[in-house]
Assembly symmetry: D2
Homo-oligomer: 397 residues x 4
């Protein structure tokens, strides 16, 4: 019998708390760029290991360091003077039995491809220098990883997840996603570096968007202001779909038109000029930073999806919470914490703590069987997390 606890908690539901703070660092933020590369490299290694040896070997590529370049943005153009420097750091299994794996070469190519795919105006040929210091992973672990059975926990650690998103969370998340996926395709001056900060003060939601604007598509300050207006209007449209509260949206609030200090870039990311980036300092694996909710400090991106318990349990608890919130009527909010016990199979955690705020008129007791069923089902199919990660179906930031 697995140790699954379901309990009611008395906390004030998030929507009723007085203040709520939420943040999302978009795809092109330097920290997210680190996350994205780290995770892409891990995925590529997994696939290469599977291709050559039908097993995923030990690796953790979760320490990509981005050192900002130097750029001189200009309306109608601008130049990157010194390239962004990206150092790929981590551990990987470089050989197993007679098989060698071209880990560093693959990491380099993956990082380059990742940037090409996710940025429209960042030139990998000239504006980014990538170096690689991926060490040999511990050889003790090789056999462990080659095994087909459910792996054992690599650490005493935990994962946390919650669902559903509050209005402010949804809005913060969706604004970035829609700016990146939709408006950016229509308005080329919109850079990939977008940060959205959501603050709910009672019934007022204030959204602050920080969006890198790309100089070459802008003629003058009027044009810049127009793009900001477009972003604001578009974001308002997105936000309005998720709330009836009062909404205030501001874009690039630090702009100072008088002295010309505006958020103008050459490439669409502030990594071009002064903003460094690291893995694990941005969004949690649900895509948000939510100081009002339980969070894990564990960097999820770049960790191996086989036995890195921090990664797996964070992803797992988020999936569990979302499925419970969706499928189990009567659940208003659910918080999952999964604790590992080092050396035990990962499908048998020390404890799964499920804290529920039921909807008015519901008793946790009566919801418990359905909740447990979801938790058990995920534990029984924990390998699915790994498969989804490798297939790129689970976001990690």
């Amino acid at each position: 019998m697995k140790n699954i606890l379901v309990e009611k908690i008395n906390n004030v539901p998030i929507e009723e708390q007085k203040v709520e703070i939420v943040e999302r660092k978009g795809i092109g933020h330097p920290d997210s760029l680190s996350d994205g590369i780290a995770e892409a490299v891990s995925r590529a290694l997994c696939k290469e290991y599977l291709r050559k040896a039908d097993a995923v070997f030990h690796h953790n590529t979760d320490e990509t360091q981005i050192v900002a370049g130097r750029a001189i943005p200009e309306m109608g153009g601008g130049e990157v003077i010194s390239p962004i420097y990206i150092l790929l750091v981590g551990r990987a299994t470089k050989s197993f039995n007679d098989i060698s794996f071209a880990t560093d070469t693959l990491a380099l190519k993956t990082a380059r491809d990742y940037i090409r795919e996710h940025f429209n105006n960042l030139d990998v040929e000239s504006q980014v220098a990538i170096d690689c210091r991926i060490g040999e992973g511990s050889s003790d672990l090789k056999d462990v990883f080659a095994s087909k059975s459910v792996p054992k926990s690599n650490d005493t650690s935990f994962g946390v997840g919650h669902a559903p998103f509050s209005e402010t969370e949804k809005i913060t998340y969706e604004i970035e996603r829609n700016l990146y996926n939709t408006l950016r395709n229509k308005e080329p001056s919109i850079g990939e570096d977008i940060k959205v900060m959501g603050l709910r003060d009672g019934e007022d939601i204030m959204i602050t968007i920080s969006n890198a604007i790309i100089g070459r598509y802008i003629d003058d300050m009027e044009g810049y202001k127009e793009v900001k207006e477009k972003i604001k209007d578009f974001a308002m449209g997105v936000a309005r779909r998720h709330t009836e509260r009062s909404l205030d949206i501001q874009v690039n609030t630090a702009d100072n038109y008088d002295n010309g200090e505006i958020f103008l870039t050459v490439t669409g990311t502030s990594a071009e000029n002064g903003d460094d980036g690291s893995v694990g300092r941005g969004n949690r694996c649900n895509g948000l930073i939510t100081p009002c909710r339980p969070m894990s400090m564990e960097a999820t991106s770049g960790k191996n999806p086989i036995n890195h318990i921090g990664k797996i349990y964070n992803l797992l608890s988020t999936q569990m919470a979302r499925e419970i919130a969706e499928k189990v009527d009567g659940v208003q909010e659910v918080y999952i914490k999964i604790l590992s016990q080092i050396g035990q199979p990962i499908d048998d955690p020390k404890a799964v703590s499920t804290q529920v705020i039921p909807k008015t008129g519901n008793e946790v007791k009566s919801l418990e069987p359905d909740i447990k069923a979801v938790v058990e089902d995920w534990l029984d199919n924990i390998i699915k997390i790994r498969e989804m990660v490798i297939a790129g179906k689970l976001d990690t930031f």
Copy 2:
């Protein structure tokens, strides 16, 4: 009038919650080593700026990346084959008017000194290679920093703090502090890389200590086991001072005596062999990782203490919370959130939200004046935070 909110919250007090998880990464953990260097470099820059120009200029040195070395630990000896590589990353003001600042040289020296001071067995001459890629900070900011008035917020951000520590928090924190400061001086085989994980499950507190043991001071497996016993006994003594709950303490639980896989090192830190490290991925500025409490993702270490609002407000809210918990009778728990408004003086935040769980028999209303007094006093003297940071009197991790 500053916007200071004091409200009661209904949350279950931490000690009454069913499960509590706390973690501390000690001084010698690769992530803490990154934090420590980052903050030491920032402090050194502050002092140099003050010495030469009587002002602290813009800088952020919060991206130190540690790339693990390769070592072959052995009882009675062992060797580091490849040095740990440390890349100092960040931004600094390299000149102001006619004054040049030897930022990179200073950063290099500071990092080397920091390691010497905090590790007994890590040889900076041969086992660590340090490189520096600190770029020129934005020149626009120079004048801002030279000014003597209260600086303006550099971002829309926030800080969080809570007090007092729960038993599990105290124990987790104090075990590492005492191992590092006391037992390590008596027992030379105790390495600086100590991670303490505290888990409270109802009335049972389980502490897992992961402590790098230094091979040269150990003769054989018996010796190794003896040191683990010493650590356990010592930790039990420390823990017992803070709780009457049941205590279970385990040391280096991943050890496998059969195949000889134990936590043995040459230098006292796992950075020597496979464990990379980054700033901002370990302890929050109160010294702990507390997923059951509100946390900020902001890296505090290495940020400039002048106008970096994430750093300042995290430190400030922690100080406020501690002072309230200590001085205001009737407060059981207090949570502080301070929100900035970009462009406004940092002593005038958008809001200070003070959430209180009063002790039984107390009303928040009657505690409010004392609480507000503490908050206001800190806001009025916010410059003290900067001074304490520069003087090294505030921990950041």
Copy 3:
């Protein structure tokens, strides 16, 4: 009057000396790759300076360091495990008045383009990591460089040149040039890394060719041997056009078929696996290493073509010698040495020493006017050297 000395020397003509040693490192040799990138970057900087500011500013990019990768070559395939690391080093003017130059970005792109252009099987996307540490050049020099007058010598230095090539020199040079330019296009397994060593012992010329063979185009050892045979036959054809002496040509003499150690590569260059490379350690600017002739140690590649006297005088003396040997009947061999005087215009060297071995029946005295005319003409048009360098019309290695 410029100080031009013409004298007869009694040396034994090169073809009559008993032993002659000549070497050429081909385009794909790691040292030549360094040279090639260094010079390409300098040319690109010159063009950019001219485009933006109508002047060529101070720079020297003559320190490209190549750190070999790690590869596992195989017949029919093979893989590069760790990429080749290339560090671009040097100095460049990054701004002049209000104009900024994107020096580092340009250097990075140029290096990548250079590799693409000169190698058929070296994948810049994954098999090469390029980093850039080009510092700011001395600002004192900026005005000097912006001036239109003949620049002044930057150093007390000299250049040397000789002509015509001996048979062994011609053969050594031409074999590599033809293998690279002709046979490589027909036989894809021929890598760009070709080293030719020519040794003449009296009337016997022995040529040793070391040529990286590319595994993916080779099925088995027989195929490998066939390619070596092709190279040998082809080289014999080239060599025979230049001599009637006895010829012995050997290819990849270090091959050991028994244990499988042959010169097989994935990419066509030994930089993929263990052979590092540096600027200035390979061919002199006439394309050869000729220990039996006067040589300068000065690295020509990557130096600025405006006032770097070592570069300019080495190229100039070689051009002078070649024109004299070609146009002045009666000259059997000519050696030119040009000495600078620091601070003097480069068209007014301290001395041009022209040492001549006349053909039998000729007096140096009577050749002197024609020789001097050539020397004077080149000095008068010394700017042509710069123009030819920038236009890529003068080889530097």
Copy 4:
């Protein structure tokens, strides 16, 4: 019977040639610093291999790259703003059978120690950042190196040497040696970066000394001029011991007192500000650059002394030439060329060519037995070269 050729050559003796050019880059010149570190690291590896495994294993550490720092020198002080960056590059055997060698750690420590030992004012703690990218050497070679028999040639290559030094060569060499070893100890402002260029034009010898002066020991321009005077006088004294020709000595000829551009440094080497350095681009293994004499392009420093034929034969031919010039009466000048044959024992070269200019009244024929005896003796004891290298008794630059 070994192939030893002794022949007379008709060349004009060096002292009778019209023009002679000689150069020496002193210990503190960036190129020599690269050479020195490269060779020191190789020596340290040899000793460590011998200590642990009683054999010297394959390695070549001949690619140290120095990237200049940035400094602001001042009379009475000055500062290094950005440290000198030194990248240690090469190959080394990292394990043999069960023995691991701490190659990278050792290289790092050796480089640091080397700088401390050879510079009085270059602070390794803060002014130099050293990184290490020493790869694993080819494992095929391990057994070869463990063997005790005379190793086989690793390449088709050659070495050259000559003796005795001409007056200009002696003077050029000795001035640097004496400035470094003697005057520097009395006059602390004399930096280690000294370049001496010797030019003999008929009976006039002109010496140009370029010597970095250390600002902290100088009060003002008068003091600077005084030091230059001291250097000049001292050098004149040294030079006069070696010649009766006319002597002209100039120091720091590029100085411009009007605009304050003088050769002032903080540390004593121009690597602090703009002058990069590489192995193998400075002095040949006899300590000089002599374009009027046969030279090898091979970098001697950092190559392994076991089977790297370029290194061994360059050192060997120089030793042979010196002993012949010293011991065999009647020899005015001797030039040695030793050619290897790849795969043959190194004590059995393809040819040793000994070219002699006899003193007037001597026949080469009658000198031949004595000359051959010296050559044969050295060949028979070729292992002595290795031993002298490892013991640090043979200079390589």
